[in-house]
């Protein structure tokens, strides 16, 4: 697997170089156009370190963890893209007011869901593996959460280069994409209410309220 990847990267490198030569471009330009694998790995590692940092800080309150995660998500996730993607074709069904409320609710929800999800991994080891390019601007970074309680969990990060850095556009846990799963849920909620977009807003409000109240259901 690693061998294959290396070979592919090499081929890709050779191809890019050939292209650069034939176009008479300096070498640096095409290399910068593709997502830089090394930088992608570093980005995920850095994010992981920050998250683990707050989780393993002695005496960190739940509110403190929540607010740090909130910050990390706002800064490092492309919430706009995730929110739109998760809604799929129903974006076009919603009017402006509904879109606005949806984006607000979605971001609130995803922050609470992701921060809870990641805080489960407190005290576990986070190992970042290799990155592979995906299209022109995207990269996929493999990582593993080694748990003391059960088998290791594979987590893939889909990154998009933006303004010299990266934004996360999806998190894939054991081959299950968070965004794709939510997209399927949201469609199901709207469909089962006869296409009523407000049903989704209601479900999101309900979900957020329960999370805030700390109800386990």
């Amino acid at each position: 697997m690693t061998n294959m990847l290396t070979r592919r990267t090499l081929l890709l490198g050779t191809a890019t170089m050939g292209l650069a030569l034939s176009l008479g471009l300096p070498f640096a330009t095409p290399a910068q156009a593709a997502a830089d694998a090394g930088a992608a790995v570093k980005f995920v590692q850095g994010l992981g370190d920050k998250a683990i940092g707050v989780l393993s800080k002695p005496g960190a309150s739940k509110a403190e963890i929540q607010s740090t995660f909130n910050q990390l998500l706002q800064q490092n996730f492309d919430l706009q893209t995730i929110g739109r993607f998760v809604l799929g074709r129903y974006w076009n069904v919603a009017n402006d007011a509904q879109r606005q409320e949806y984006m607000k609710l979605f971001q609130t929800m995803i922050v609470s869901v992701y921060s809870e999800r990641f805080s489960q991994y407190a005290g576990e080891t986070f190992k970042v593996g290799a990155a592979q390019p995906d299209g022109e601007k995207d990269a996929i970074v493999n990582s593993q959460v080694v748990r003391s309680n059960g088998p290791a969990v594979n987590v893939d990060w889909r990154l998009r280069s933006k303004d010299g850095s990266f934004r996360i556009i999806d998190v894939v846990v054991e081959n299950v994409s968070m965004s794709l799963t939510q997209r399927s849920e949201f469609a199901s909620v709207i469909e089962s209410h006869g296409g009523d977009f407000n049903a989704l807003l209601e479900a999101l409000r309900d979900r957020i309220q329960k999370a805030n109240a700390g109800v386990a259901q």
Binding site: Q80, Q120, D134, N142, N175, L180, T181, E185, F186
Partner: protein
């Protein structure tokens, strides 16, 4: 028949070019019935399986639970090997044999996954994956009583496999049915305990638990079919919406 065999192109090495993966749509014409069975399964799970798994995790140390997982995986080896061969996956078959030999000897009858510790990790193979590799479509999504998420193809695969597993055959033919019951019991316990946090999370954090489970099942199975992690083929293309002005 509900199972359609799609045109199956082969690479020079004999492997099909396009395994039958789940499409973007849910393919769930029996949703009403499925939701009913899902609700029933959830009741059983919350009342019986979850508490039993919780007790198992509380009473048995992690190292011992790992040993149980390892033994179960090792006992699956003949089945895994059969599926490797049926899929024409000779590398995979080699890995399966290698793992079985190492773990059954140095790993003390499969208790310790020595192979994985030395860079030969376990790979799950099943008959439904083999069918997918052959290009057989999944057919409608199904929720089976007690067994949970499945599809027409996967349910047929599961049934045939449960019946035809070499280890099961040998145990039945030698009047060692107790071994089969123990294995099934431990498999359920091991699986429920492995997915303990994941299921709690999904149940609590979804706005539609049924749809979330359906989506998760189909993606995870595709991951198994492709034998791997982070294959861009498997991931949806996500357009860039970040440039759009806020609505």
């Amino acid at each position: 028949m509900l199972l359609g065999v799609s045109a199956c192109a082969h690479n020079p090495d004999g492997t099909p070019q396009h395994p039958a993966l789940a499409g973007p749509e849910a393919n769930d014409p029996l949703e009403g019935m499925n939701r009913g069975i899902f609700w029933f399964n959830d009741q059983v799970d919350q009342a019986v399986l979850r508490p039993v798994a919780q007790a198992y995790r509380w009473a048995i140390p992690a190292a011992l639970r790992d040993a149980v997982s390892n033994v179960l995986n090792n006992v699956r080896s003949p089945l895994t090997l059969a599926n490797n061969i049926l899929q024409g996956d000779w590398d995979g078959a080699g890995v399966t044999v290698e793992r079985f030999v190492i773990n059954s000897t140095v790993g003390i009858g499969g208790l310790v996954d020595v192979a994985a510790a030395n860079g030969i990790p376990y790979h799950y193979e099943s008959l439904s994956q083999t069918f997918a590799v052959w290009g057989i479509d999944e057919g409608p999504y199904l929720v089976l009583p007690f067994l949970g998420a499945s599809s027409v193809r996967d349910a047929v695969g599961f049934g045939l496999e449960a019946w035809g597993d070499p280890v099961t055959r040998v145990s039945s033919n030698t009047d060692n049915d107790w071994a089969n019951y123990t294995r099934v019991g431990l498999t359920v316990l091991d699986a429920r305990s492995t997915y303990f946090e994941a299921l709690d999370d999904l149940r609590k954090n979804s706005v539609d638990y049924y749809a979330a489970m359906r989506a998760a099942y189909r993606q995870q199975r595709d991951g198994y079919v492709l034998n791997g992690k982070a294959d861009p083929r498997q991931y949806p293309s996500i357009p860039d919406y970040s440039q759009n002005p806020d609505p």
